[in-house]
Amino acid sequence: MGVIEWVSWVFNKLSDYFTKFQFVRYAMIVGILIALCSSLLGVTLVLKRFSYIGDGLSHVAFGAVAIATVCNLSNNMLIVIPITVISAILLLYTGSRRKIKGDASIAMISVASLSFGYLLMNVFPTSTNISADVCMTLFGSTSILTLTATEVWLCVGMSVLVIAVFVLFYHKIFAVTFDEGFATATGLRSSMYNLMIAVVIAIIIVLAMNLVGSLLISALVIFPALSAMRVFKSFKAVIICSAVLAVFCSALGMLISIVAGTPVGATIVVVDVAAFGVFSLVGLIKKN
């Protein structure tokens, strides 16, 4: 098969999917929005040395999903969102007053809820194939391809909210991230903004679980930010670059997974990793 035939085959296949299948369009919209939101907050989390928070929270969300499944709730978001938000607040907001160091407490909460969730799913099995269930929650499922219109709208609404919060509080988020002491001393209510960041990141995590599963969420959060930081030196440039990069990588990842039939979440993450490689290289070249 020559290159031209191959390209046209890919193109035909994609346009086929897009015109024929509603779920592919839904998946693209949701995937891009989630990637965008996580990358915006990702810069702050990376800079505050909270990269692992995404991981920790997603494990909490996994535990919460297990509880919701066992309780046979029709809409498990009702349990998952509050639990995740509360954990995020505990992790981020209590900040310096904590006796246990940040990374240790995140690790504790993360493994505790992971094992708790797995235990629950095994003790009160709701389906015959537990390992498939678990695998789906951990690595992202095909559920991204079975989204209903309501779920898509929920996701769009939440994303708009996250983006609006980020744009409106952009300068405050910068100040709190760069120098919290100065911000507080000169009259900014840092703890309120930390709380806000915690809540928003929890919401993003819950949304992103559908897309890439709980094990891979932190990739969506940290990779675009880290890549952008390799090349750009101002906060604004890093934010813009990581947002653009996140959208590009998640779109590309999803297209590849449609054409090649690979798992959605893992493919997006692999594309993100590749982009990180490219940006590291560009950063090195720029330096010399």
Binding site: L47, T184, A185
Partner: protein, 237 residues
């Protein structure tokens, strides 16, 4: 009514006292220099005034309607992560944030103020540079410009001249003197430069576990503490 009054203030960490018996007040328009050896609690006092740190006992009263967002502050140390992407311009502007309230963006006056303060500190040509790639003295100037942006009524400086070259140091003292006498901004400065403290300040607070001296500069010069300290640290000119 004083701008700031400390009553029976005891400062410390986790119940361990660092300074006690702090009783003094700062009036609007004062220029107070806090001196004392390393570890005598100067920074701790400043952080307590800024409500970044809670006192063990006693209280600080503010007067004349002083609000938290009218205070400019230069920290002694700023823990900026090694790889933090932030341009000089972004950092200086962030000093203006306390004027914004709920407005999400900076207005023209605030951008002007940032520009003016960058000019004052001679860092206009660094505006687009990355903060973490600057020299120590340049970084100090950036943070000074940010502090000036945040200043409404009161300016707190923790060792502002540390790391500055002689010319920048002289310029800074001159600038602060102007802010104090022409713009009426109250200044509280921590300094090891006893000669300059005695030259520019109106009041001196000398800390060493207890306040050894608080009062007007002219009284300090003739006090036992002042004489001794200036002999050791070379305050004579």
């Amino acid at each position: 009514m004083a701008l700031l009054t400390c009553r029976d203030l005891v400062l410390g960490y986790e119940g361990k006292k660092v300074v006690e018996e702090l009783n003094f007040s700062v009036n609007a328009g004062d220029y107070l220099c806090i001196v004392g050896e390393n570890g005598s609690g100067k920074t701790t006092l400043m952080k307590t005034i800024l409500k970044l740190h809670a006192p063990i006992s006693g209280r600080i009263e503010t007067g004349e309607g002083l609000k938290q967002n009218e205070i400019g502050y230069l920290p002694q140390q700023t823990m900026v992560q090694k790889d933090f992407p932030a341009s000089v311009n972004e950092i200086v502007l962030s000093g203006c944030l306390n004027r914004c309230g709920f407005r999400p963006f900076y207005n023209r006056e605030e951008k002007q103020a940032a520009k003016k303060n960058m000019e004052r500190l001679g860092i206009t040509d660094l505006a687009g540079r990355c903060y973490r790639e600057l020299s120590g003295g340049q970084q100090q100037r950036v943070l000074l410009a940010r502090a000036l942006c945040a200043t409404g009524k009161l300016l707190l400086l923790d060792e502002p001249v540390a790391g500055l070259d002689p010319k920048a140091m002289a310029d800074l003292y001159h600038l602060i003197e102007n802010l104090n006498s022409f713009d009426g901004i109250t200044v509280i400065m921590i300094s090891h430069d006893i000669a300059a403290a005695v030259k520019y300040a109106s009041h001196i607070l000398h800390l060493s576990f207890k306040p050894l001296f608080f009062g007007r500069k002219s009284d300090y010069i003739h006090s036992e503490t002042g004489k001794l300290f200036r002999e050791v640290y070379g305050g004579e000119r």
